[in-house]
């Protein structure tokens, strides 16, 4: 195993306004597998191509947005090592017992980031009951429904002190910076994209006055054809599309942004280059950020950077 430390962004818990509506959307339109309901009424999902117990939990609440996202690390030893280093770095960290509020998950550590977000670190997750086949495997264990996303991919977090959150990600968790978009002053960063593995990104962080906000969370599709089919299904199901289908200059992924029934922004993402830790960082000047995000229209609208949950 050559990937060390953080394996991937593997989990996210989101708030929704109406759970029944959200379940219908994430299961039937996005095509995630419904895993189970927790004792306190939250609902767990996973993509058909994921092995872990679940990768998305939805909680009904008064306002939509992010509860927390999770990063899976290599081993229980590394998890304890990160916990120690996180405390030394000066962030608030708290242990969450195994098999507690996220069924199937081993011990976690909840970390409060300088941007006002919570992330959880964990190393052990039970194998999902309905996982990809392991012997003479077919491409699917069952035919994907709806858009048929394969799994959770990444999230874009908005908050103040982005610089410190990025420093924690690189210096403690060992994530690599893949690309940077510069602020208008050319000095500070507007947005930083990071990965823990071979994917183009696991998480991105954008400097924003309000803490703890999420711009979008993304699910993986295989190809540009799947992105086109996803767009068809969004129109058929009256899903509000925010931007796309299009390509990002950043990571080169092909993408659509759209909204779930509670106004959380979702993305379906395909392609994107394979990252290797020896790659130099790619940088976008502020006057080229439009092209970095919207590679074809090449213009950024204000609402895209300010509308968050």
């Amino acid at each position: 195993m050559a990937i060390k430390g953080v394996l991937r962004a593997g989990f996210i818990q989101m708030r929704v306004l109406n759970l029944d509506e959200a379940v219908q959307y994430y299961r039937d339109v996005m095509g995630l597998d419904y895993v189970d309901k927790t004792a306190d009424g939250r609902v767990m999902f996973k993509g058909y191509d994921e092995f872990d117990h679940h990768s998305l939990t939805l909680r009904e609440a008064a306002e939509p947005g992010l509860d927390y996202m999770g990063f899976k690390v290599e081993s229980a030893e590394i998890l304890e090592e990160y916990a120690k280093q996180t405390a030394e770095f000066g962030l608030k960290i708290e242990a969450v017992p195994a098999q507690s509020d996220q069924p199937g998950f081993g011990k976690r550590y909840a970390v409060d980031l300088p941007t006002g977000h919570r992330i959880d670190l964990y190393s052990e997750v039970e194998l999902a009951a309905d996982h990809p086949e392991l012997t003479n495997p077919n491409i699917w264990q069952h035919e994907p429904k709806g858009i048929g996303v394969t799994g959770f991919d990444h999230a874009l977090l908005f908050g103040p002190n982005a610089k410190d959150t990025v420093r924690y990600f690189t210096d403690v968790l060992g994530l690599s910076i893949v690309e940077i978009a510069k602020a208008p002053d050319g000095e500070n960063n507007l947005c930083v994209w990071l990965t823990g593995n071979n994917k183009a990104h696991d998480v991105a962080v954008l400097e924003f006055p309000e803490p703890g906000k999420i711009h979008h969370f993304a699910f993986k599709l295989e190809s540009w054809n799947d992105i086109g089919r996803a767009a068809d299904l969004m129109s058929i199901n009256n899903i509000k599309i925010d931007a796309g289908p299009m390509r990002h200059g950043v990571t080169r992924g092909q993408t659509i942004y759209f909204f779930d029934p509670s106004g959380n922004r979702n993305e379906v993402y395909a392609g994107g280059y394979a990252h290797f830790p020896d790659m130099p960082v790619r940088v976008w000047d502020f006057d080229h950020v439009g092209k970095g995000i919207f590679y074809y229209s090449r213009t950024l609208n204000d609402a895209f950077l300010t509308v968050v949950t």
Partner: protein, 100 residues
């Protein structure tokens, strides 16, 4: 249109717009290509872009983000247009600036 409709008057707008009685205000506007009357983004009651104040008329609302409309605001006529269904003619005021 066969459906029952109401008239929507927007503060600062000369025209009066006909909206359907059986669906959310913002959806009615969107379907008539009147999407510039009230700023709009998520259509799900989450982003707060479509915040308006109802100055007169009756209406009903569905659950919307408490981060954008508090209980006190709701009681004084503030709503998200994507989660508001008109029950009579309405006179409204747009709260947010259009960012799109």
């Amino acid at each position: 249109m066969d459906e029952e409709t109401f008239l929507l008057k927007v503060k600062g707008l000369q025209r009066v717009i006909r909206v359907r009685s059986d669906q959310f205000l913002l959806k009615s506007l969107w379907q008539q290509s009147e999407e510039n009357v009230i700023p709009l983004r998520c259509m799900g009651g989450g982003c707060g872009q479509c915040k308006i104040r109802i100055l007169s008329g009756s209406y009903r609302t569905e659950k919307m983000s408490a981060a954008h409309v508090s209980q006190a605001e709701l009681a004084s006529g503030f709503v998200l247009a994507c989660k508001t269904v008109p029950l009579s003619d309405l006179y409204i005021e747009v709260v947010k600036q259009d960012l799109s």
